[in-house]
């Protein structure tokens, strides 16, 4: 239609139009960045750990009376046997730090013995022969530990120790890019030869850079219950709750008085949900803000257009009287809104990328992907058209006879 006329008419409402443009622009900028933040949160929440999470439960036991290391180790062996006897349990192990737990154990690792060799800090898992089976880890290269390779933690940390190690594929790529890590040596606890590479195993908690999330080492160490957490692998998902119940009963009745609390027994799935609950809350909050912003913007469009329609009733009547069809009037308001929205979106996209740059400085956030531009544009155009439809329809229903009335 007559763009020129519409633009000309809009000039009479310069302030109102610029306010609406600003509002759309601002909503556009915030909504784009909020959606992007939601996306990064969701990606974060769905990172796999490499463990077979659905089939694992964990139980922490704390000793009450101090006992000799030997007695605690003996008790641990009794516990392991009793836990393995629980129906539905396939593997049981003691791990030093459970996934999504509160502890984080790490060591400096380098590729040379020299004091000034570059060192990175890598998280370390200690576990017995059943650890790999309990976690359901997948071997990518090399082999698992042999039964004779398992040591105590004193032996691992002892002078001149040469305990073998299994590392994750990401760590292997970092240290030995493009080559097989099996047979190579790293220096963490004395000298450690890599005997195997697992496909994936992540840090128990997020620390350090994003790529180091998948850096981990496994050492063949037999731990006592006092040094770690019991991990139980169940055959079937539905058995997790009964297994937790049985495990708590077993641990309470076996051996000396210990702290065995239902609060310290959980499925790995629940531990994951708990770990990410803040991310989930944040994502929902962002969704809420987006919805509210779009609603408020739509309300602004509806309100302002309604006023313009009421204000121009007479002009509309006159245009109808001199031959404009209802469709012409409807389209007039639709095109007007389209122009305003386009201006708003153009400004909004500039703002969105500016805001993104600001966020990148303060948060670990990537660049806003390019496809936000066309998608955001389409969404806001649609929103504008939906919002303007009601008032525009009312305008198109103004009868030509209005032209003959005064005011």
């Amino acid at each position: 239609m007559h763009f020129r006329h519409i633009v000309h008419a809009l000039r009479h409402h310069r302030i109102a139009v610029s306010l609406l443009v600003l509002e759309i622009a601002f909503s556009c900028a915030v909504v784009c960045n909020a959606l992007f933040l939601i996306g990064t949160r969701l990606d974060r929440m769905h990172r796999p750990t490499g463990a077979d999470e659905m089939h694992i439960v964990e139980v922490v036991v704390r000793s009450v009376a101090p006992g000799s290391a030997k007695a605690i180790m003996a008790q641990t062996r009794t516990d392991l046997a009793a836990l393995r006897a629980i129906p539905g349990v396939t593997d049981v192990s003691v791990i030093n730090q459970p996934l999504f737990g509160s502890s984080f154990s790490a060591s400096g690792v380098s590729l040379s013995k020299a004091d000034n060799a570059p060192t990175i800090h890598v998280t370390q898992y200690f576990g017995d022969a059943q650890l790999a089976g309990t976690l359901g880890l997948k071997l990518a290269d090399g082999r698992w530990f042999r039964p004779d390779e398992f040591v105590s933690d004193e032996q691992l940390e002892g002078e001149g120790a040469t305990v073998p190690v299994i590392i994750t594929r990401a760590l292997a790529e970092h240290f030995f890019p493009g080559k097989s890590a099996v047979g190579k040596v790293i220096y963490a606890f004395g000298t450690n030869r890599v005997v195997g590479v697992v496909d994936r195993l992540v840090q128990p908690r997020d620390y350090g850079s994003a790529e180091s999330y998948e850096y981990a080492m496994i050492f063949p160490v037999n731990l006592s219950f006092a040094q770690g957490t019991y991990l139980l692998r169940v055959k079937d998902t539905s058995q997790r709750d009964p297994v937790i119940r049985d495990a708590l009963r077993t641990l309470r009745t076996d051996g000396p008085l210990r702290l065995v609390s239902p609060r310290d027994a959980t499925t790995l799935q629940a531990a994951r949900a708990k770990y990410y609950r803040n991310d989930r809350a944040m994502a929902w909050m962002l969704v809420g803000v987006c919805v509210l912003l779009l609603v408020v913007t739509a309300v602004g469009i509806v309100g302002l257009t309604s006023f313009w329609v009421a204000q121009r009733r007479r002009q509309i009547g006159i245009r109808r009287a001199i031959g404009a069809t209802r469709g012409d009037i409807l389209r007039y308001f639709q095109i007007e809104n389209f122009l305003i929205a386009t201006l708003g979106i153009a400004l909004g996209m500039l703002l969105a990328y500016g805001l993104n740059l600001l966020l990148m400085q303060h948060y670990e956030l990537g660049r806003l992907p390019g496809y936000y531009l066309p998608v955001g544009t389409l969404v806001l155009w649609t929103l504008g058209q939906l919002a303007v439809y009601g008032p525009a329809l009312r305008a198109s229903n103004v009868p030509p006879v209005v032209a003959t009335r005064s005011a």
């Binding site: 302030i15 009376a65 800090h121 350090g208 702290l259 509210l292 309100g303």
Partner: protein, 437 residues
């Protein structure tokens, strides 16, 4: 006149009830969201020791070797003190009061038969702690410096723990079992919980329950009791000796300094001490790295507000801004549509000022209504924050200043929003408008 304007505003708003409702709701949502987040940040960064915080300082030394690069997960290794340094500062006695401390998590065994043992959080500290922080006692008192030196097996219990363990009456002088050792109760504190817990290790929860027991640091080191906090070492690290190692930091230290001269003097003392340690070959870095933080400055340095919360505050303020833009646009359209009415009033003798006042009152009415709904929405928002699992969640309550602040913000926002439209509307040409009709 004000009453008349109020009546005019009421009539005008009732003519467009849906639009008025939407404007009130929009400003209410914007204000509610902003005030929710402002309240959370306000309580999180509040002064934990009103009246005392200006006198409390925490000294920090830099005993790290030159090339030391710690793990980011362990935090700043120099944010705590080593045992020898803490003891040296304590013995030097250069401040009005001084105390070294560390958190502990000990197994408590109630003497009653059948009662389950449980873990309780407490603090290992030195004699001045109670007087310096003004810990209120219900019964008995803290221990003396002599008992610190003697590594006495004494303990101060919180009211909650003492009730739980001993039933509450005649507690002083009785024995309790903590972490596998017996301690004589010398005092019971009223439940005391500064918020945030400014004196704890960086890894500790700052907004959770207060300490349940206090016992002498020297005793804890003597008995090698479990410590709840970061041990950051750069030398030989043996679990057995790390508590007293000169190359492992784990202790927090606070001093009371009453006058600016004392503060300056203490600052110089820290530098002198560092220089002396450097001369002895223990410290490697410049002595001027030693720092003395005031309580509030230390909390600011520790940056207690999570990034997510900050982001949420900005989102809420951004949302309020969009709501304001919206209301400006709607009011503008609304006022301009009444050009006819305004022209008649102008022609009858109303000054521009009067029109401006009239329209200002109308926007203020929207603001008051918006502020009231904003208060309700903020309460709802704070309730939802209290459902969060974070340790600060239980603090999310509105106090009187924030309550008044909400209303003030709402009215200011709506007056601001009404300013441009009212100014624009009172500039209409009466003659032109009347003729057009």
């Amino acid at each position: 006149m004000f009453g008349y304007y109020l009546d005019l505003a009421r009539r005008s708003l009732r003519r467009t009830p849906v639009l008025t409702g939407l404007m009130v709701l929009a400003i209410g949502l914007g204000i509610g969201a902003s005030m929710t987040m402002l309240t959370v940040l306000h309580v999180m960064t509040d002064d934990p020791m009103p009246g005392r915080s200006a006198q409390l300082y925490t000294p920090h030394l830099d005993p790290l070797p030159i090339g030391f690069k710690g793990m980011d997960i362990a935090g700043d290794a120099a944010s705590n003190l080593t045992w020898p340094d803490a003891m040296a500062l304590l013995k030097a006695h250069r401040a009005v009061r001084q105390a070294a401390m560390a958190g502990g998590d000990l197994l408590v065994r109630p003497s009653r038969t059948g009662a389950q043992p449980f873990y309780a959080d407490g603090r290992y500290t030195t004699a001045d702690f109670f007087a310096m922080f003004g810990v209120p006692f219900e019964r008995g008192q803290g221990w003396s410096a002599a008992e610190d030196d003697a590594r006495a097996h004494v303990v101060v219990l919180s009211d909650t723990l003492s009730r739980k363990l001993l039933g509450g009456v005649d507690v002083v002088g009785r024995m309790v079992r903590l972490g596998g050792h017996d301690f004589r109760v010398v005092g019971v504190t009223a439940d005391w919980q500064p918020s945030p817990m400014f004196y704890v290790d960086a890894s500790a929860r700052r907004y959770s329950d207060g300490d349940k027991f206090f016992l002498p640091l020297s005793t804890a080191v003597d008995l090698k009791l479990d410590v709840n906090g970061n041990f950051n070492g750069w030398g030989e690290d043996h679990a057995d000796t790390r508590m007293v190692s000169p190359t492992t930091t784990w202790l927090q230290f606070w001093v009371q300094l009453d006058t600016p001269a004392q503060v300056a003097g203490y600052r110089q003392f820290l530098i002198d001490y560092s220089a002396q340690q450097k001369a002895l070959g223990r410290f490697q870095r410049p002595p001027t790295n030693a720092k003395l933080y005031g309580l509030m400055a230390w909390l600011a340095h520790e940056n207690l507000v999570p990034n997510d919360l900050r982001l949420q505050l900005w989102l809420a303020l951004g949302f309020l801004f969009v709501c304001m833009l919206n209301i400006v646009a709607l009011l503008l359209a609304k006022f301009l549509r009444r050009s006819g009415e305004i022209s008649v009033r102008r022609a009858l003798g109303a000054r521009r000022r009067d029109i401006f006042m009239q329209l200002g009152v109308e926007s203020a009415v929207i603001g008051v209504a918006g502020g009231a709904s904003g208060l309700l929405i903020a309460q709802l928002g704070l309730w939802s924050i209290r459902q969060r699992p974070d340790d600060y969640a239980h603090l999310a309550q509105m106090d009187v200043p924030m309550l008044l602040g909400t209303l003030a913000l709402a009215i200011a926002a709506s007056l601001l929003a009404g300013l441009l439209p009212a100014w624009r509307a009172c500039r209409v040409m009466p003659a032109l408008q009347l003729k057009a009709q």
